[in-house]
């Protein structure tokens, strides 16, 4: 049915449709509405889940871990400080090979208190072994959450998936939302290493240096295998429901001389900037990175690249800009913009492109205007 929903409600609706057996979550702005809506679904009986209103995010992830290892589907949601409070267990979930799905509403980190969008929270979890997808619309929040369950639970993945949506810009924005009849789009969960009293085993006992690295390698092997699973899942999704997704969403890139790379809502807003620039005769295109782990390949050869990072790694640089320098040898004009919900319009983005200085870093709103 076509309706209007916030990003948070869209995530909750997808969770209802995927029907996890256990949901454990703790509220935090701007994720709260997800937790509230799931609680309502459970109370009304629309969602037949065990809902555990835990006392902290650390416990939210720990409860999902305890539930998931029994072989059932699990979900949680968090944001920012909550994500980092559960950081230990975020690592644990991946190492334990548990296909937990988590929505993270991207938000800045204090101090000072800031509840608005930034990607640094999730980027700081990038080395944990979680797959990470960043969405650009409310519809995509719903679609990506559904696909996250199927991808996480796929036998050649069996890793947790984090669905990221920009705080307020998506979590609280109301867009059209078309739900789907999922039928068998997500097969029943089968965890090959589920805990079983008929077949006792010790999980995570002491593991020596001669063995430990094997399990780390298997996380990486699964991360690489997930590329195909993601492709296959997104293809089947398009086939069944008509909406098309790729690890990178390209816009007017075919003949582009300059490409804007961004994530989340900025990646969508960049498309409007591209249209504006095209009208001026600038051959611009945009690439919105959706899957950040596994990190995708981008065809940037022979083009100027403008990267907008709504994040920063202190003492290093914008995470996407530095990543593309490492993986694609790009020398981008690295724009740091939108931190803590800083307003960045398509006009601003068009300005970044017009006045680009490849190889340099530019803090929007801090340094003299481009």
């Amino acid at each position: 049915m076509l309706t209007v929903a916030t990003g948070n409600k869209a995530v909750a609706a997808a969770v209802k449709d995927a029907c996890p057996s256990v949901v454990a979550a703790y509220p935090i702005t701007p994720q709260t509405e997800i937790v509230e809506q799931i609680a309502e679904y459970v109370t009304s009986g629309e969602l037949k889940s065990q809902y555990i209103p835990v006392e902290s995010e650390h416990s939210a992830m720990a409860a999902c871990i305890g539930a998931s290892i029994t072989g059932v589907r699990t979900f949680t949601a968090t944001s920012s400080h909550g994500l980092h409070y559960m950081h230990e267990m975020v690592n644990w979930a991946a190492g334990a090979r548990l296909p937990i799905v988590m929505a993270n509403v991207n938000r800045a980190l204090g101090p000072g208190w800031n509840i608005w969008a930034e990607h640094t929270d999730a980027f700081q979890e990038r080395d944990t072994g979680w797959l990470q997808v960043y969405v650009g619309s409310v519809q995509e929040a719903y679609d990506a959450t559904l696909m996250a369950f199927r991808i996480a639970e796929h036998e050649s993945v069996l890793l947790p998936v984090m669905v990221n949506l920009d705080g307020f810009l998506l979590s609280h924005s109301m867009h059209p939302l078309q739900s789907v009849e999922i039928r068998d789009f997500i097969p029943p969960i089968h965890l090959p290493h589920a805990i079983d009293t008929a077949n006792p085993a010790g999980y995570g006992t002491l593991t020596g240096p001669d063995q430990y690295f094997r399990f780390r390698w298997d996380i990486e092997r699964s991360m690489r295998d997930s590329v195909n699973v993601i492709r296959e899942t997104e293809e089947d999704f398009r086939h069944r429901f008509g909406r098309e997704y790729h690890p990178v969403e390209e816009y007017r890139c075919d003949d582009a001389d300059v490409v804007v790379v961004a994530m989340g809502t900025l990646g969508k807003e960049a498309e409007v900037a591209v249209d504006l620039l095209r009208k001026e005769g600038v051959k611009a295109g945009s690439m919105r990175i959706r899957w950040f782990r596994p990190f995708p390949r981008l065809d940037l050869s022979g083009r100027d690249v403008v990267v907008i990072d709504r994040d920063y790694s202190f003492g290093f640089g914008g995470v996407i800009a530095r990543s593309l320098a490492a993986t694609e040898g790009a020398k981008p004009f690295s724009v740091i913009a939108g931190l803590g919900g800083q307003e960045v319009t398509y006009d601003d983005i068009a300005g970044f492109v017009r006045d680009r200085r490849p190889g340099e870093e530019f803090w929007f709103g801090v340094m003299p205007d481009v």
Partner: protein, 83 residues
């Protein structure tokens, strides 16, 4: 369980921690004359190294001496291991 090694799952194994009998400094010696088979030694053995028939499994007995200390008949004595 798939053959793929995804995570550290350990299987129950006798002797998982090796033959802990080698840890012993003192060995329990039972005086069968004094023993009245009350079973208190087996009850208190932290490692269940004393069987129902009150046989001490010297492959695993760590020589803690609880059996000797708790025996109401003083039927067990601890003797220095000859190595």
């Amino acid at each position: 369980m798939s053959t793929r090694m995804r995570l550290a799952i350990s299987r129950p194994t006798r002797g998982a921690c090796g033959k802990t009998g080698s840890w012993r400094v003192f060995r329990p010696i039972v005086d069968l004359e004094k023993c009245n088979s009350c079973g208190i030694c087996a009850m208190f053995c932290p490692d269940a190294a004393i069987s129902e028939d009150l046989e001490i499994d010297l492959d695993f007995c760590k020589g803690c001496g609880i059996c000797a200390h708790e025996c109401p008949k003083k039927a067990i004595r601890m003797e220095r291991e000859e190595k």
